[in-house]
Amino acid sequence: MTSTLLQVESLAKTYPLPGGGRHTAAEDINFTLQPGGALGIVGESGSGKTTVARMLVGLTTPDTGLITVDGRAREPRTPRRRPARLTRAREIQMVFQDPYVSLDPRLTADQCLRSALRLHGRAESLAATLLDQVGLGEREAGARPRHLSGGQRQRLAIARALAVDPRILVLDEAVAALDVSIQAQILRLLDDIRRDTGVALVFVSHDLAVVQHVTDEVLVMRRGRTVEQGPTRRVLTEPSDPYTRLLLASVPGEGWDPADAVAARAALSV
């Protein structure tokens, strides 16, 4: 029997609208994640998937709901005390969408990792191991982000998250800003890391093809609500919800016609 690593119960977040009323970014989100598992959260822009990711790491405070890691509930707000903050950080780490702005422009790759290692009281010599683990060499170690390519930056961002030695890694559209061949490399890297370190992944993406490759389970979101969830293979091959079918129909492939996808989208919006 495996114990549940991450449990999310009835998570919700609304934002006030300028003209009064509230916009529901996420409502009644529930899922669980086993140690070393991989969950995909998919949906189109504005579906609330990034809000869920930010609530998981504590960058956004949920209105209601409970996030439990290893049976311990996470405080909704960042704790003031340093030990509590660091313990919380070791539960869940995040890789951001755009590696062009998610790295401190002033620090070299090596300094970036050392800063994270030092903060968590880990040996700074691990920086070299981490760089090696994500496939960055000596030249990249001494380079500032502006001298690294997009793929290299995202590798560094992944290494920085791993430097904290987290149980769970949340990837918010982590490959969306990269071109396709680099995407494949990063996805492969994530798969390797998951196998080697046993870190569990929460993969937030709009790209079903990407989710299909990395995740075991998937949760489809639309307008802040879950429309379908289950094993990735089943959801992607026999979707039960019309929205999921639409998302699948929108993936470009052989014999794909954008007009069909647009028409299907229009039919669903009514």
């Binding site: 960058l59 960042t78 903050r85 660091l86 951001f96 702005v101 401190d104 920085r160 904290v164």
Partner: protein, 283 residues
């Protein structure tokens, strides 16, 4: 057949060549700094050596720039005066930078009532003419170079705070700051070790531009008798001491320190704006 006129394409980096004005200004500043540093070696007389027999002497072999009404050698005084005139604005800007950057970053980081409080506070200080505010402080704490540096430091704080706040507001929204938060790093540490250093260049550029204004303000205070006191050879004070000589037909006692002030302020502005552009534009 099409002919393509090939012109050198502008590369991302701007040309490194300095305009002539900037070169001249830099040279002038280097000279002034050297003069200040080497004043004891260069000055023919002690700056406060009084020789009443040579009162208001014009230029001569003995006194290259003439003397003032007390017979003090103007060249010696202006050389020694360069020291206070360069160091005092630096100290003033240090005070303003420490307070202003702290307030600006605090304001942007915390937001909410802290931001409102800091913003209203700077508004109130803006509402007073800067000089009035400074004179108020001097009235309470007494005249002197130290007091005027501190008073003007406070007067310059709102400007620096406001500028820093506007920069910090866009900086705190950048995901790398979120990444530090997710790492479990505390707010103070993020601000002090990562946010401020990332704003550093831009703030530094702004301070360079403020240097001329700081020097002018200090000279004004000395001129009004609130700053440096006799027998200091502060430039502003020298202008004030020299203006009675103008009536007697001797222009040099006011003209020499006045020219020195103008030279430094113009040079700092010309070279400073050029340097600040480059400081700010490199990411």
């Amino acid at each position: 057949m099409t002919t393509l006129a090939l012109r050198p394409v502008a590369t991302g980096r701007r040309t490194r060549r300095r305009p002539v004005g900037v070169l001249l200004a830099t040279a002038a500043l280097v000279l002034v700094v050297l003069a200040a540093a080497l004043a004891p070696l260069l000055a023919p007389y002690a700056p406060d050596a009084i020789d009443l027999s040579a009162s208001l002497a014009g230029t001569s072999g003995d006194h290259l720039l003439g003397t003032d009404s007390s017979g003090q050698d103007l060249l010696s005084r202006v050389l020694f005066g360069a020291r206070t005139s360069l160091i005092a604005p630096l100290l003033l800007l240090t005070v303003a930078a420490l307070l202003g950057v702290t307030l600006g970053v605090l304001s942007a980081w915390r937001g909410g009532w802290v931001d409102t409080l800091v913003s209203r506070l700077t508004d109130v200080m803006y509402a007073f003419p800067g000089l009035l505010f400074t004179v108020l402080i001097i009235a309470v704490f007494g005249t002197g170079t130290t007091t005027s540096v501190l008073a003007l430091g406070l007067a310059f704080t709102p400007t620096v705070a406001r500028y820093t706040r506007s920069l910090a507001l866009s900086e705190v929204r950048k995901p790398y700051v979120d990444a530090y938060r997710v790492q479990g790093m505390g707010g103070t540490r993020i601000c002090a070790l990562h946010l401020v250093p990332n704003l550093g260049r831009a703030v530094l550029g702004y301070l360079v531009v403020l240097f001329g204004e700081a020097l002018m303000s200090l000279a004004t205070l000395s001129y009004l008798g609130f700053g440096a006191q006799p027998p200091s050879s502060d430039w502003g004070l020298m202008v004030q001491e020299g203006q009675s000589a103008v009536v007697q037909g001797a222009l040099l006692p006011a003209l020499v320190p006045g020219t020195a002030i103008a030279l430094v302020v113009v040079s700092v502005n010309v070279a400073g704006v050029w340097a600040a552009d480059r400081l700010g534009s490199q990411d």
